[in-house]
């Protein structure tokens, strides 16, 4: 099993959700995140005082998948979240030791 995590532009969330559903992946966790990569932040001005806002809002998506689906899920996320602009984010995959479905107690791939 693999955990695919993506940090993306907030406005791409809907597209990524739809694309994952279309690819047969029925479950994901979304959280609000802040961060910066190479694009750094932006400047805001309040009554003439400049603030450099270096942490910009992002959305973090986490998807648990079976090993064979990991590459496909990553591709789907990248395709749906890409705008070609700086700040589009990152996707990474890590191995997962075990997964348990809380309600039934099922383990491993059955719980995906």
């Amino acid at each position: 099993m693999k955990l695919v995590t993506a940090v993306i532009q907030p406005h791409r969330l809907e597209a990524v959700k739809e694309a994952l559903l279309g690819a047969g992946i029925h479950g994901l966790t979304v959280s609000e995140a802040s961060g910066y990569g190479r694009q750094k932040g932006h400047t805001e001005v309040y009554r003439g005082a400049e603030y450099v806002v270096d942490l910009v809002p992002k959305v973090r998506i986490e998807v648990l998948v079976n090993d064979e689906d990991a590459a496909m899920a990553t591709e789907v996320v990248i395709k749906a979240s890409s705008s070609g602009q700086i700040g589009d984010g990152k996707v990474w995959t890590v191995p997962v030791e075990d997964v348990t479905r809380v309600r039934t107690g099922e383990h491993g791939p059955d719980a995906i």
């Binding site: 805001e44 001005v45 309040y46 009554r47 003439g48 005082a49 400049e50 603030y51 806002v53």
Partner: protein, 420 residues
């Protein structure tokens, strides 16, 4: 004997009083949105706290001190009419009941005190603020209100024009804010940590409520439902519109963008500046007052960074500078065709009125500055004015009020037991 009561006037002044009272909760939103999320409740409580303490004091000895039996043109006798028991009976000679005037003026005393709180955001002990509010309104506000608005007041008799409170309210509160910002010192991390406004929609909501209430403030100050009130209403509207545009254009040129905080700030700057002048200028004059105030205040809010005082929400840049702008511009832009009936410099009236305006402005400024410094340092010495560094860093809301404004999915809150 037939009663002289004018029900139209009375109805308007009671309505206007309610409008002006709403300005203080409006100010709570205006200020509350500008602070960080960890101190919004304390910021709003400083306004509500002022409503509590000043409202009670006004009825006990405030009204007698401001408008009661005169002592030397300087203030009223607080013991003559203490508690207002002498005003309960209807007076058939009055077109407007004294109690209606009491109600109207109460709301001015309240908001003047609340205005000061913006200068000392995020760091003030609540008890010390409440003590300050009671002492300051008694020793500073009531005397200046008496000078300018009571029939025996020395500035009133000098002929200085302050229709609705440029000196009494705005110069007074603005310079008091400056004094307290200096006494309390800067917030931790000022100039380094980001302290951007946490909720700009609150700021705009507050500016809207202030603008709405301000029609009671200015047009109500006619103390009648008449032509003067109507002229004042239009001047108040158009000066505020012009000031918002002035502030936004200044920002666009200086910073590259017209901001929502700039719009809200420009609205308040325009309202402040037209307050003393609304009865003495034409609508064209009001537009000029507004534009000048919008531009000047937009530039003035940058002063604190150069001079190094943490007037957190720009009480000085908006209220002191805006109040001075409006009060002094009367000397240039007043026209005898307006209800106040005086010509300023640009209308052939010479410098006479300008001189009177300057005396009123700087008398209020000087008196308020000196007295506020004395009161502020006294509170700082006896009991302290500022919360602990730990309370300030972790958030004054939790430290002082035991509350937090926002709960995000309950994360970070430990709640295992609820006591009823």
């Amino acid at each position: 004997m037939e009663s002289a009561l004018n029900s139209g006037d009375t109805a308007w002044i009671l309505t206007a009083s309610a409008l002006v009272l709403l300005m203080t909760p409006g100010l709570a939103f205006f200020y509350g949105g500008m602070v960080r999320g960890k101190s919004v409740l304390n910021m709003m409580m400083m306004s509500f706290g002022a409503m509590g303490i000043v409202g009670v004091i006004w009825v006990l000895w405030g009204y007698p001190m401001a408008f009661g039996t005169d002592i030397g043109g300087f203030l009223g006798n607080p013991f003559d009419g203490f508690g207002l028991g002498n005003l309960l009976a209807a007076n058939p000679e009055e077109s407007l009941p004294s109690m209606a005037f009491v109600a109207f003026q109460a709301t001015f005393a309240i908001i003047t005190v609340a205005l000061i709180s913006g200068a000392i955001a995020d760091r003030t002990k609540f008890g010390a603020w409440m003590a300050f509010a009671g002492i300051w309104v008694t020793l500073v506000y009531f005397p200046i209100a008496h000078w300018v608005w009571a029939g025996d007041g020395w500035l009133f008799n000098l002929g200085a024009i302050d229709f609705a409170g440029g000196t009494v309210v705005h110069i007074n509160a603005g310079v008091a804010g400056l004094a307290l910002a200096i006494i309390l010192g800067k917030r931790k991390g000022w100039g380094k940590d980001p302290m951007r406004p946490h909720n700009l929609p609150f700021v705009m909501l507050g500016a809207g409520l202030l603008w709405f209430g301000w029609f009671g403030f200015n047009a109500g100050s006619a103390l009648a439902a008449d032509n003067t009130a109507s002229v004042v209403w239009v001047n108040t509207m158009v000066a505020t519109c012009a000031a918002m545009l002035g502030w936004l254009i200044t920002e666009k040129i200086r910073d590259g963008k017209a901001t929502s905080l700039g719009a809200a700030s420009g609205v308040v700057a325009g309202l402040v500046a037209i307050t003393p002048a609304c009865s003495s200028v034409s609508p064209i004059g009001a537009i000029i007052v507004g534009v000048v105030a919008g531009v000047v205040c937009a530039l003035a809010v940058g002063l604190k960074w150069k001079l190094g005082y943490d007037d957190s929400l720009d009480v000085v840049g908006v209220h002191l500078v805006g109040g001075l702008t409006g009060t002094l511009l009367i000397g240039f832009l007043a026209t005898a065709a307006a209800p106040a009936g005086v010509d300023g410099l640009f209308y052939g009236g010479g410098v006479d009125q300008l001189g009177k305006q300057a005396i009123a402005a700087f008398a209020a400024l000087g008196y308020s500055l000196v007295l506020t410094l004395i009161i502020g340092y006294a509170i700082k010495m006896f009991g302290g004015f500022r919360v602990s560094e730990e309370a300030e860093v972790n958030g004054i809301d939790l430290a002082v009020h035991g509350e937090t404004a926002y709960e995000t999915l309950g994360i970070g809150r430990v709640s295992t037991e609820v006591k009823a």
